[in-house]
Structure formats: C-alpha cells, structure tokens
C-alpha cells in the first residue's frame, strides 16, 4: 500500500492485507468517514470448510447506522462472510473460522462470548423467506421473545416490529393466520419483523430480495433504507442496482478475497481495482 488512499476509500491491496499473522494495528484500514468507532470491524478473517479456504484474509470496518452492500460473483464467499459475523458457521461440521470480528470493540470469536447471546445482537435475514410453519403471524414475530423467555408486552412489540417491517397494515386483521399463508414478499418482511423483535444492533441480510418479484423487492429496499436510522446493516446482494440503491458503502468480493471496499458511488463510478471495474461493468460475474 504505497500511495495514500483517498480519504473516503478503504482500499486494501491484497498482498499487504493478506500477510498472515501481521498485527492488524500495524496496517489499519483507513476509516470510512469519521472518527466514530466502527460498529463492526473485521480483522484478517479466514473461513475454511475442511481444506477449502473460502474466505481469505478479509479486513474491513462498518460504521454504525450505515448500510454496507457485499457484492461479487456467485461462489465468491459473500454469504460465507456475513454468516461468519454471527457465528452461523459454528454449526457447520468441518467449518473453521480464524481472525477477529469485533462488534462494538468486542471480539465475537473470543472464548468468553456466548454465540447464542451474540446472535441476539447480530440478527439475520435469509435468502429465502423462512417463517416457522407451525406458528401464526403473531407467533412468528414474537418467536425470538417466547423461545428465549423474554417477557414484556409482546402485543406492543409485535405491532411495532410489523410496522417497522411495513407489514402491519397488511396483516393486522389476521395475526392468527399461519405465517406461511402470506405471499413470498410478505413472508420476507415477516422474517425481517421477526429478526427486529429481539432488538439486534446489526442486521445481516443474505440476499433478502433474491426470491422476490420487483415490487416486493422495492418494498424490502425501502425498508432497509428506513431501518438504517436505527440499525447497522450488511446486505449481500447479487444485484448491483440494488447495492447502488440501498448502500452507503460497498465491498466487492472475488474468490474469497475482499478486492475493494469504498463508498458505493465510488465503487460503481471510479473503482480502484481492475477486477472491480470489470465486475461492475458486467465484463464477468
């Protein structure tokens, strides 16, 4: 990293960033904009599935109340990366995670962190809507509370979360109906409401709109835009238009490596890396 990066860009030229064992502080990625401490900071993250080195030496920062989009061609490790941020790989046999992930300065992978409690702070919305089929709409939203034995006024929380997910008006008269009776787009917003009910601070969205039609997609995007006021959001997307529409910063992954990260406008108009440019202009991917 010879030339000083522009004030707004967090560029990492791979050879430097990928030196294993290097103390992260020796080569800190420049902050995106201000001096506020990052909500999420990833340092030299590696994920292995048995011998397959799926994520290679990724380091980045996400500022609070911003949306970061993760883009890249299929199989580049986008999903693997975000799943490492709430320790979903713990349950996959043969998966191994190395490196550090800090949320509010606390390392998620330190031995003292309980992955169960962590996941209440780092929520997740999945690619396919997955409401619990045995539960009603109401029970689905309240699931995180009832299953965890969290008390409080569930009626109020359910309404609040459904309103936040822009679903309340559509379902308020049939809260006792099955969650699976909703349309695909509604189910996905139901899943977002369910994730919000446990009051996470960070919301991971793994291609939340890829199974939805354009209208439902637009609603989800609008929603992400609104949720930004309260939450830090990391969204994996296949659609570069979507990344451009919803995100403040964009990270481009390729073959398990973070190629480039920066403000979304810069990634799409003036990328530093040749591979980023090729991808965003549609030369591959």
């Amino acid at each position: 990293m010879t030339s000083a990066p522009a004030a707004h860009a967090m560029t990492q030229e791979k050879p430097v960033a990928s030196v294993p064992g290097q103390h992260p502080a020796a080569n800190p990625p420049p902050a995106t904009s201000s001096d506020t401490p990052p909500k999420v900071e990833v340092q030299d993250l590696n994920v292995y599935f048995r011998r397959n080195h799926a994520i290679r030496h990724v380091s980045l920062k996400v500022q609070p109340r911003t949306v970061m989009a993760v883009i890249g061609p299929s199989g580049c490790g986008k999903s693997t990366f975000v799943r490492a941020l709430n320790r979903m790989h713990d349950l996959v046999p043969g998966a191994r995670v190395e490196g550090k992930v800090y949320v509010d300065g606390k390392d998620l992978y330190s031995k003292t962190v309980d992955p169960v409690l962590l996941r209440r702070r780092v929520g997740m919305v999945f690619q396919r809507p997955n409401p619990f089929p045995t539960m009603s709409i109401y029970e689905n939203v309240a699931a995180g509370l009832t299953l965890n034995g969290i008390g409080g006024n569930h009626d109020e929380i359910v309404e609040h979360c459904l309103r936040q997910a822009a679903l309340w008006d559509e379902v308020k008269d049939r809260l006792k109906h099955a969650g699976t009776s909703l349309s695909g787009g509604q189910q996905q917003r139901l899943c977002i409401a369910r994730a919000l009910a446990v009051e996470p601070e960070v919301l991971l969205c793994d291609e939340p709109a890829s199974a939805l039609d354009p209208i439902a997609t637009a609603k989800i995007e609008e929603l992400i835009h609104e949720l930004k006021e309260k939450y830090t959001i990391i969204i994996v997307t296949h659609s570069m238009q979507q990344a451009a529409r919803v995100s403040d910063n964009t990270a481009f992954f390729y073959l398990g490596e973070l190629i480039e990260i920066g403000p979304t406008a810069q990634i799409f108009t003036n990328p530093r890396e040749r591979r980023t440019e090729d991808y965003v202009t549609g030369k591959f991917g």
């Binding site: 709430n86 979903m88 349950l91 046999p93 169960v116 409690l117 962590l118 996941r119 209440r120 702070r121 929520g123 997740m124 999945f126 396919r128 997955n130 409401p131 619990f132 089929p133 045995t134 539960m135 009603s136 699931a143 995180g144 299953l147 965890n148 049939r174 006792k176 109906h177 099955a178 699976t180 009776s181 899943c191 369910r194 994730a195 009910a197 446990v198």
Partner: protein, 284 residues
C-alpha cells in the same frame, strides 16, 4: 408431423395412460373393498352392545361378547405405547440430530434390521425376556412384545420426519439467539410433530393388529383382566381361537371380532388425521 396431428397424438397418449391408471386403481381397489365387504357382511350381524361389553360364553350358549378381549387389546397397546413410543421417538430424534457418528450409524442399522424382523420372532424374544423370568404369561409380556415391535419403525420414521424439516428453519431460530437444544425442541421437532404423531398412531394401529407376538406372551384369558402380571385376552388372539374352532357360532364371532378390530384400527387412523390437522388459518 404437423401441429394438430402431434397435438391429437399427445392427447391420445394422455387419455390412454389415464385409462391404464384407472384400471390399475380398480384392480387395487377391488380386493380392498372386498375384504371390507366380507368382514362387514359376515361380522355385522353379530354386532351388538353386548358383544362389546360381555364376557365370552361357552360353545352353544347364545350371546356373550369379547369385551375382555377389546379391553385387553387396548390395555396392552397402551402398555406398549408407554414403553415403546418414548424410546422410539427419542431414538429417532437422536438419530436425526446427532446420529452421524458411529453410534448413530449402529443404532440406525439395528433399527432397520429390527423393523424387518417377523413379529413372531419378536414374540419369542419377549417370551425369553419376560415370560420365562416371571414364570407365566402376562399382559406385561404382551406389552413388551408390542413395544419392541413398534420401536424400530417409530424411530426410523421419526428420524426421516425430523430430517425433512428444512435447515433454514433451524438457522432462522438460531439467528434469533435461540439456544441449540431449544431450537431442536421447539422449532425443528415441533415442525415435524404432526408427522411424528401420525407415525406413532400408525405403529399403534399395526401393533393392535398383531397376533403372533401375543400368542406366547399374553396368551389369553376368559375373564376381565387389567393386572399386568396376569394373562390377558386380546382381539387378535380371540379371532384366532374362534376361527380355528370347529363351531359355527364361534366362526361368526371371529368375523364380528374382526370387524371390531377393523373399527379400532380405523378409528386410530381417523384420530391421527384429526390430531395433526393444522390449527392455523390459511396454513398450507
């Protein structure tokens, strides 16, 4: 071939195949209905309130029923449920959730072998396990035999049903910060529950229809009995005894007892459907 002739050809093949299916359906349907018809026509005449509530009467005496055998069957099937269902369902859940190691593979293999063992072999095992140590036939021995019969099939179906629950539901629950064990219990198993209940009731229905494991475990009894240590009558053994007897009125009783058994099994099947109906509106 132009469009219309190929269209007509496809239509022809479609109709032809539909007809073939209908013929095979009829072929399968005839024996099924004829069994039902035969049992109803031959056994229906003997059906009365007394038949359900009275003790059997000696040959030549009119009246009498199989009340003790009906109670005996329900009693021993109940015992088998208490002994077998928790073990079977528990083993199935274990196999689905943790059963990928050597122990799991062993348990699965044993369950598969056991589910293919003829029921009379299970009867002999129960005879050696319970009847010989106790020194006499008993309802308990019958219940144990039926339980051994139920465990492997219940375990195998439970495993399959739990494995059918999409991994996405497990992930959704974990992502809400729900601990692993609670996710298994309250999301994964709850989703599979309606299927597990059906599997259990089908196993119960099958156990209720077994004769071989009961002949040399519970034997028979001419009187009412709910003592687990005493020999006990059952519908199936009663049918067997009545059917092999040389008396016409006992043959008639065998038909009526068969009808009662069919009704019991039918009710269990209906119950499984009612119990597993989704209570939520608009559920698919």
């Amino acid at each position: 071939m132009n469009f219309h002739s190929s269209f007509r050809y496809r239509k022809f093949v479609d109709r032809g195949m539909a007809a073939v299916c209908a013929i095979f359906f009829a072929l399968a349907f005839v024996p099924l209905t004829s069994v039902l018809w035969l049992v109803i026509s031959k056994g229906g005449a003997g059906l009365s309130w007394d038949f359900f509530t009275q003790l059997p009467k000696p040959v030549g005496e009119a009246g009498g029923g199989i009340g003790n055998a009906l109670v005996g069957t329900l009693y021993m099937v109940g015992l088998a449920c208490v002994l077998g269902l928790p073990l079977g369902v528990g083993a199935g859940i274990y196999l689905a959730e943790k059963g990928d190691g050597t122990l799991g593979n062993t348990v699965r293999f044993v369950a598969e072998v056991l589910s293919g063992v003829p029921s009379i072999v299970i009867g002999i095992v129960a005879y050696a396990l319970v009847v010989i140590p106790m020194g006499h036939f008993s309802a308990l021995a019958g219940g144990v035999a039926l339980a051994i019969l139920m465990i492997p099939t219940v375990a195998i179906t439970t495993e399959e049903l739990v494995r059918l629950v999409p991994g996405a539901l497990r992930e959704a629950s974990l992502a809400l910060g729900v601990p692993n064990w609670k996710t298994s219990l309250r999301v994964v198993i709850r989703t599979a529950m309606s299927g597990i209940v059906t599997a259990c009731l089908l196993a119960v229905a099958r156990a209720a229809g077994e004769t071989a494991p009961l002949i040399f475990t519970a034997l028979n009894n001419q009187y009412w009995n709910v003592d687990p240590r005493a020999p006990t009558a059952s519908l199936t053994v009663a049918i067997y005894n009545y059917a092999i007897s040389p008396y016409d009125d006992w043959h008639a009783k065998a038909w009526t007892a068969s009808l009662v058994l069919l009704i019991v099994v039918g009710l269990l099947n209906i119950a499984s459907r009612v119990l597993t109906r989704n209570r939520l509106k608009g559920a698919r």
